[in-house]
């Protein structure tokens, strides 16, 4: 589950202070988000700042580009199955 932090990129230390999760765990979670292409990080002085990667939006679109094929195939199969089965 995710929780919204608020406006503005945050450093890991700031993130960890807001939540009941240890700082290394926050770093680990951010790394997973980063590996999934949803978060980018950049160095600002001696801090790493994390922001939602705008290309996460594109990945969302690509996900649906594949997903709707599967969904509509499943819908077609269900629609064409005998009426009795769906009562």
């Amino acid at each position: 589950m995710f929780e919204r932090l608020g406006a503005g990129p945050r450093a890991v230390g700031e993130i960890a202070n807001d939540m009941p999760v240890s700082r290394p765990a926050v770093s680990q979670h951010l790394k997973v988000l980063k590996d999934a292409g949803l978060v980018i990080d950049r160095q600002a002085g001696n801090r790493r700042l994390y922001e939602v990667d705008p290309s996460g939006v594109q990945q969302l679109r690509e996900y649906f580009d594949q997903f709707w094929d599967k969904a509509l195939a499943a819908f077609k199969e269900a629609a064409e199955r005998g009426n009795e089965e769906d009562r």
Partner: protein, 163 residues
């Protein structure tokens, strides 16, 4: 991250089903749970049922066996049996976005072809609305693997797509 131009154009699909338009509509809406791939759920508990409330302004949500509900979006148009418009309110980081202006939109139209077939067209558009102006940061609150299979599937899907 790459500097490639972002493509957020609409996803457009269609399928023709060999049933009359009313049945096509009913299966899509009333019987949504009977065909929606069960692996594609958002909540942390397995999805038992998924509901499209049959009116404008209605909710589109999944419910687990324990009664926990997770809203996916809203019903913008419910014009049986021809036109359904839903909003998709799960943001790019898989959080529920309460602000409907940040939802993408899914329009599904049903067109009779003869008496016994229906063309169903789907357009999912407005992906750019899920963007954040670059300002918001999401954190992960772990609760025993609350990540869920969805993000893993999502990551796998994007990798398969070469993303």
């Amino acid at each position: 991250m790459t500097e490639a131009t972002m493509d957020t154009s609409a996803v457009i699909r269609d399928v023709t089903v060999a049933v009359p338009i009313q049945r096509a509509w009913d299966v899509f809406t009333r019987d949504f749970s009977t065909w929606w791939p069960s692996a594609y759920s958002i909540g942390t508990e397995p999805m038992e049922t998924c509901v499209i409330e049959p009116h404008e302004g209605g909710r589109w949500y999944e419910r687990s066996a324990s009664g926990a509900e997770c809203e996916w979006g809203r019903v913008r148009v419910y014009d049986a049996p021809q036109r359904l418009v839903l909003t998709w309110g799960i943001a790019a980081d898989w959080t529920v976005e309460p602000d409907e202006s940040k939802h993408s939109e899914i329009e599904i139209t049903f067109t009779a072809e003869g008496g016994n077939a229906t063309r169903v067209e789907l357009e999912h558009r407005g992906f750019e609305r899920h963007g954040t102006d670059g300002a918001a940061v999401r954190e992960v609150v772990s609760s025993g693997g609350g990540w869920g299979s969805l993000l893993e599937q999502y990551a796998q899907a994007t990798q398969r797509a070469g993303g």
